[in-house]
Amino acid sequence: MANLTSEDVLKLAQLSKLKLTETELKEFTNEVNEILKYVEQLQKVDTSSLKPTNQVNGLTNVMRKDDVIDYGVSKDDLLKNLPNRQDDYIKVRRVL
């Protein structure tokens, strides 16, 4: 598989809402490529007869009653960590 260029890494950073400095970009491009090179060994593994595993506890469709549960947490408890609050609203910067 092809190596990532710094443009690729920049695009990934944009997708994950990160901004990298020039130095970080250069370092990360090298490091990420090294790691990707390491994991490439999986390509040679024969998995034709297998199904993917995404969780290991064997549970499916764990349901609960559609009742409102009192978690013992108030609205104020949850809003107290807001960086910017206005009444009971989360205040954010302008969108556009």
Binding site: S16, L42, V45, T47, T53, G72, V73, P83
Partner: protein, 477 residues
């Protein structure tokens, strides 16, 4: 030098018999924390709340109430557990100043059993790391050797226990983060079957492998803490039922006839001679006690690290998307619009390793690469699980070293992320398969602590604890 705590069972009896008060135990804990400051194991104290709770517990005992299986026992929680009484930071700048609006289920259960959290322990930020050097705040020193790392990511927790700050500490293990610091520091580290302990209220790293477990100085203490924390939780739908007999009254068992599979891939030239020697000596003890040692080859183990470093960064990139500077945590005050607020808050708040893993994760999940990386890794994960199942049809337990070497020097691996990842080579397998695994201290390697790792099939936690207790007995003889 601080003195060792008595066993938890003994301590609880003393508290209930009013020979010692919960308040005295909390004060002892706080004193030990203070006198071990140079090791930088602790991020913050929950002192006022701990003292308040200790007094409450003492009063309830005075009134004749049964306070619980951990009455008055102080403990330290890794700082990725949501706990009242001080901040929860996950050792990251992005959560500095964050005060938990609720506590994790594990903490609630421990408190309901009378235990008292006194402090939050240092970790690699967001549990990303194997040495605690990725903490955004400071590096914890190994209590056995101040020039060496305590392991990670639960380095602070393991150091705290070995420094006698409390009889137990809580860690999390996603790929070895309880087991590696346990082996590097000389503690007992327990990783339960995935789903045995609720993850509700613990900062998420990789949701399909994250587990919570105790770090203690002996197996019995570990089992008592596990018993209190484990079991189904409505707030975590990935939790499973506990063993009918629970985990608290485990007894050692006769090793005669028990088959231990020694993993050949973990005893190769890549592993330090001192580590192999330590494990071989331990194997001799097991044999003398009647245990049968069977060499087992697990060729897929060499793929486990690659699988891990695709799946886990992918899950991390998803779990860390919630840190956006809007609802909690660090928020950039210079941002002029919402998008900049997201980007600036995350870029200024996250450390290097978090960013690195987010980038890798985003790549392996992106369209065009998903099948080649993420899906392929999930397929190989199945291969690894099948191989374990096959091994367990031949042996009762799998044993081996926990890491290829004992604790490395601070700074030795920090500039080489891949080299750092390789420290997890023996621990990721159990994480990917959701198996229970324990590390118990055994013969030293190069005069440094070294632990034996024992793995069992899923849900065999009780049997694993019994066998660990039995081997611990042989080692201590």
């Amino acid at each position: 030098m601080t003195s060792d705590w008595p066993a938890i069972k003994e301590l609880v009896t003393s508290v209930k018999d009013r020979k010692v008060s919960a308040l005295e135990l909390v004060e002892r804990s706080l004193n030990n924390i203070e006198s071990s400051k140079e090791y930088k194991a602790i991020i913050s104290l929950t002192k006022e709340r701990a003292i308040k709770r200790a007094k409450e517990i003492d009063k309830r005992i005075e009134d004749g109430e049964d306070v619980g299986a951990l009455a008055g026992i102080p403990f330290i929680a890794k700082d990725n557990f949501l706990v009242f009484g001080n901040e929860t930071t996950a050792a990251s700048n992005i959560l500095k100043g964050f005060n938990a609006p609720y506590q994790s289920t594990a903490i609630e259960r421990l408190e309901n059993a009378g235990a008292i959290c006194v402090a939050k322990a240092n970790l690699d930020a967001f549990a990303h790391g194997s040495s605690t050097e990725n903490s955004d705040f400071f590096t914890t020193l190994n209590p056995s050797d101040k020039t060496r790392v305590p392991g990670g990511s639960s380095g602070g927790s393991a150091a705290a226990v070995m420094l006698n700050m409390a009889p137990f500490a809580l860690g999390t293990d996603t790929g070895g983060s309880i087991r590696l610091p346990a082996t590097f520091c000389g503690a007992v580290g327990y990783k339960p079957t995935y789903g045995l302990v609720s993850r509700s209220g613990v900062v998420a790293m990789a949701s399909s492998t994250d587990t919570i477990g105790p770090i203690t100085k002996n197996v019995e203490d570990s089992s008592i803490v596990l018993d209190v924390m484990s079991g189904k939780d409505d707030l975590d739908s990935t939790t499973i039922d506990i063993d009918n007999l629970g985990y608290s009254n485990i007894a050692s068992v006769d090793l005669k006839g028990i088959k231990f599979g020694i993993i050949s891939e973990f005893m190769t030239e890549g592993v330090d001679d001192s580590v192999k020697q330590s494990i071989n000596r331990t194997i001799d003890l097991i044999k003398s006690a009647g245990g049968e040692i069977v060499p087992i080859s697990l060729p897929s183990q060499s793929l486990a690290l690659a699988v891990y470093y695709i799946l886990v960064p992918a899950e991390i990139s998803s779990n860390l998307s919630r840190y956006d500077g809007q609802r909690y945590g660090f928020s950039d005050s210079d941002a002029k619009d919402l998008d900049s607020s997201y980007v600036n808050s995350r870029s200024k708040g996250f450390g290097k390793e978090a960013k690195r893993r987010i980038i890798i994760g985003t790549h392996v999940l992106s369209s065009g690469y998903y099948d080649a990386y993420y899906k392929k890794a999930q397929l190989v994960r199945t291969k690894i699980i099948n191989e374990f199942n096959d091994a367990f049809s031949k042996v009762d337990f799998l044993i081996g070293p926990t890491a290829p070497y004992p604790a490395f020097k601070i700074g030795e691996n920090i500039n080489d992320p891949l080299k750092m990842y390789l420290a997890d080579i023996m621990t990721v397998g159990a994480s990917l398969a959701g198996l229970p695994a324990i590390v118990i201290p055994t013969f030293k390697a190069d005069n440094l602590p070294n632990g034996l790792q024992i793995m069992a099939p899923q849900k065999q936690d009780r049997k694993l604890l019994e066998i660990a207790k039995s081997i611990e007995k042989e080692i201590k003889k």
